[in-house]
Every structure is written in C-alpha cells, then in structure tokens.
C-alpha cells in the first residue's frame, strides 16, 4: 500500500517485540555478541529518542490522542528500558504489556518523537497481529492520516477487516494500491488494483467467502 511521496529521510520498520527486550541489545549487536537484523537495532535506536515531555503540535496530537485511546497510556523511555504509563497506574515494563498494545505504543512513540513525519517511510508487517479487531478502524484512520501527511506506508496483511477498512476509509487525498502476490506456477505473480474488492487473486477474500458459504449452507440446509 502507498504511493511515493518523495524525499525519504528515514525508513522505519515497525517491530514490536524488539522494544520489550531492548536493554543492552543495541550494544550487544554492536560488539557482535548477538546476530540480529539491522532493522531491529535501527528501530530501537529511533524509538529511544525520548522527547516525551515536550509539547505536541496539533498534527501530532490528532494521532497521539487516538493511539492513547487504544493503549490507555503513554510511552516512557527510561534507563534504556521502555515503559507504558497507563492512566492512574504504575508504569509497566514493555515485557508486561500485551504484544498488540506494545505495537500501538511503539507507533505512539515514533510519532511523538518525530521519527514518523513527512518524507519518511513506514514498513509494517501485519499490523493486525495481536490487536483486538475493534481497534482496527482507529488504526486505519491513523495510517490514512499519516499517508495524507506525507508518510509513505507499506503494509503486508492477511486480514480482511484491515484491508476492507483501508479500502472504504480511503480519502480522495490518499492513494492506495493493493498488491496481491500469488503463486501460479513457479514464479510469484503480482496483481495490483486500487480497489481491494477488484483483486481477482485475493486469497483473503476467498477464505472469507468459503467460510460465509459454509455458514449459509448450515443456515439454509441445516
């Protein structure tokens, strides 16, 4: 998903598990004690930029308010560890926070500290993973707004709810392309369309349709 906006300064790969165990991880990678993909190191580094006490501009606020509504808290980086600060509760180490919430909290932190802004690129593998489906509409709203504000976004998904919300909530200012990668014979084929519904090779929709047909069979035939 996403249309080129040009002038990319940073590339952000969103991974949620790495922040939970980030303490000393960057140092360990640097001295060669552990072997991690550089993207993990990069994301810990950018997320570690802590300006959480600073004022937010209007643009940031519109995102942060929505994200805080999902996580019920803000992110705090302290002594090389990430915490979630829920309202009226003690701070929680990231290891103790549900994985889906850590993912949302990471997005909060990247917006808050200015990592995700105009001219940057966000790569996000399966945003829907470990997230309560009821939060998907809010998440989609944020992604579309980020895109409209000049962040180029690439998403990989297997989720009908996420894809459909992206399709129906797309605003005129946003351009979305849905790409379906599928195996016909040996090489992987690609089909692209600006509408999710119009993808002919759509394994997500096919899986849903199969389930719906089975439900219908039970309703009508018993």
């Amino acid at each position: 998903m996403g249309e080129a906006v040009g002038g990319f300064d940073q590339h952000v790969h969103s991974g949620q598990g790495d922040l939970a165990n980030s303490k000393n991880l960057v140092n360990a990678i640097n001295v060669g004690n552990v072997d991690f993909d550089d993207t993990y190191k990069d994301i810990i580094s950018v997320a570690s930029v802590d300006i959480s006490r600073g004022p937010n501009n209007v643009q940031k606020n519109k995102y942060l308010q929505i994200l805080q509504g999902i996580t019920d808290g803000k992110v705090k980086y302290e002594n090389e560890e990430f915490y979630l600060l829920p309202d009226n509760q003690v701070k929680l180490k990231f290891q103790l926070v549900a994985e889906g919430m850590r993912k949302i909290a990471l997005l909060w932190q990247l917006i808050k500290n200015g990592t995700l802004e105009q001219g940057t690129v966000l790569f996000w593998d399966e945003p829907e993973a470990n997230i309560n489906p009821k939060h998907i509409p809010a998440l989609v709203e944020i992604l579309l707004n980020l895109q409209a504000d000049g962040v180029q976004i690439f998403i990989a998904t297997h989720d009908y709810v996420l894809a459909k919300y992206l399709e129906i909530r797309t605003k005129d200012a946003c351009t979305i392309h849905f790409h379906s990668l599928y195996k016909k014979e040996d090489p992987v084929e690609i089909e692209s369309n600006s509408n999710f519904k119009d993808l002919a090779n759509n394994s997500i929709a096919e899986a849903f349709n199969k389930l719906l047909d089975e439900v219908f069979e039970q309703t009508t035939k018993g």
Binding site: Y160, K164, E167, K197, L212, F216, T219, T220
Partner: protein
C-alpha cells in the same frame, strides 16, 4: 416503473431494464395490487416464472449517478435487512392469489459503492437468517428454495438467471 414490451421492465431510476421476456410469466404489479387494495403488505419488485421455479426479484442500485439517496443507503442496517425479508414473506400472498405453487427462489440484486462479493455474501447470510429456511425444516411444504444476493454483473453471468438480462436502457427506450 415503466412497462415496455411484454416482459421488459424499466427498473428504479430508469437507468436499467430487466428483460423477463424469456420467462413463462412475469410481473411487476405486486406493488400496484397491494397499494390499490389498501393493504400494509410489502412487495418485491418483480416475479419471473420458469419451468422449474418462481423467482422473486428485488433490485437496488446505489452506484448509479442519479440513485435515490445513495449516501443514505445502508444495506446492512437492521431496518433494510428486515425490509428485504418482509418483502419476500408478503409477496407470497401475491403468488397464492395467482395460484402459483412452484418452488420459490428469492434474489436480491444490489450494487453499492465499494461492495465486494464478500460483502454480498455477508449480506446474504444476514438476510437468510430472517427468511423461513429454519422454519421449514422437517415440514412437508417449502416456502423458500434458495436465496442469493448478487451484483448486476453476477446476475448477468448466472447460469440460470442470465436468461433475464439486466442491462442499461438505451437512449431511445429511456425517453
């Protein structure tokens, strides 16, 4: 709705026409009968009879430029769902009066912005829960044989229903 040649009907908004000329019998007169009699019954738009079954057809197209209240069309609203089901039940009275007693199939042809096949299947399943499928289990009679929710394109490509094509009205016919 305007009636053209026998069995050809101009549907809602005058943009499309349904050609039931290949049917053994067809009508768009349920509404007029119910209305003239002062009943509170609801009606499906068309009936087409084949050798094997009677087809109750309901049509809604919120995709055309002059669609009636396209933004207000909420296909999944409980009011709309109930309304589609009620039209089926009430139209059975008309079929009884016409002494039609073949198996009855119900088709809802609907197009709306960004609708996918998955959306239509969801809609079908939701409406099917309100139709008499469960009620007729174990009974000798059958009020409904099948129900489908189709786009115009799916209708026109259907193995049986394509005999009654739903196509844009040509300029001359529309005037």
């Amino acid at each position: 709705m305007i009636k053209l040649a026998e069995g050809i009907y101009i549907v809602e908004n005058g943009v499309y026409q349904l050609d039931c000329s290949a049917a053994l019998w067809s009508t768009d007169q349920i509404h007029n009968l119910f209305h003239a009699a002062g009943t509170f019954l609801c009606d499906t738009d068309f009936v087409a009879e084949t050798a094997g079954f009677l087809l109750l057809i309901e049509y809604k197209n919120a995709n055309i430029p002059n669609a009636a209240n396209p933004d207000g069309f909420k296909p999944f609203s409980s009011q709309k769902i109930d309304n589609i089901a009620r039209k089926f039940y009430d139209s059975l009275h008309y079929l009884a009066l016409e002494a039609k007693n073949k198996l009855v199939r119900h088709v809802y042809i609907v197009d709306f912005p960004k609708a996918s096949m998955t959306d239509r299947k969801m809609l079908r399943n939701t409406i099917a829960d309100k139709l008499p499928f469960k009620m007729q289990r174990g009974k000798q009679g059958k009020l409904i044989d099948d129900f489908e929710v189709l786009s115009i394109s799916e209708w026109n490509g259907h193995s049986e229903y394509s005999a009654f094509p739903l196509t844009p009205v040509s300029q001359g016919e529309a005037s």
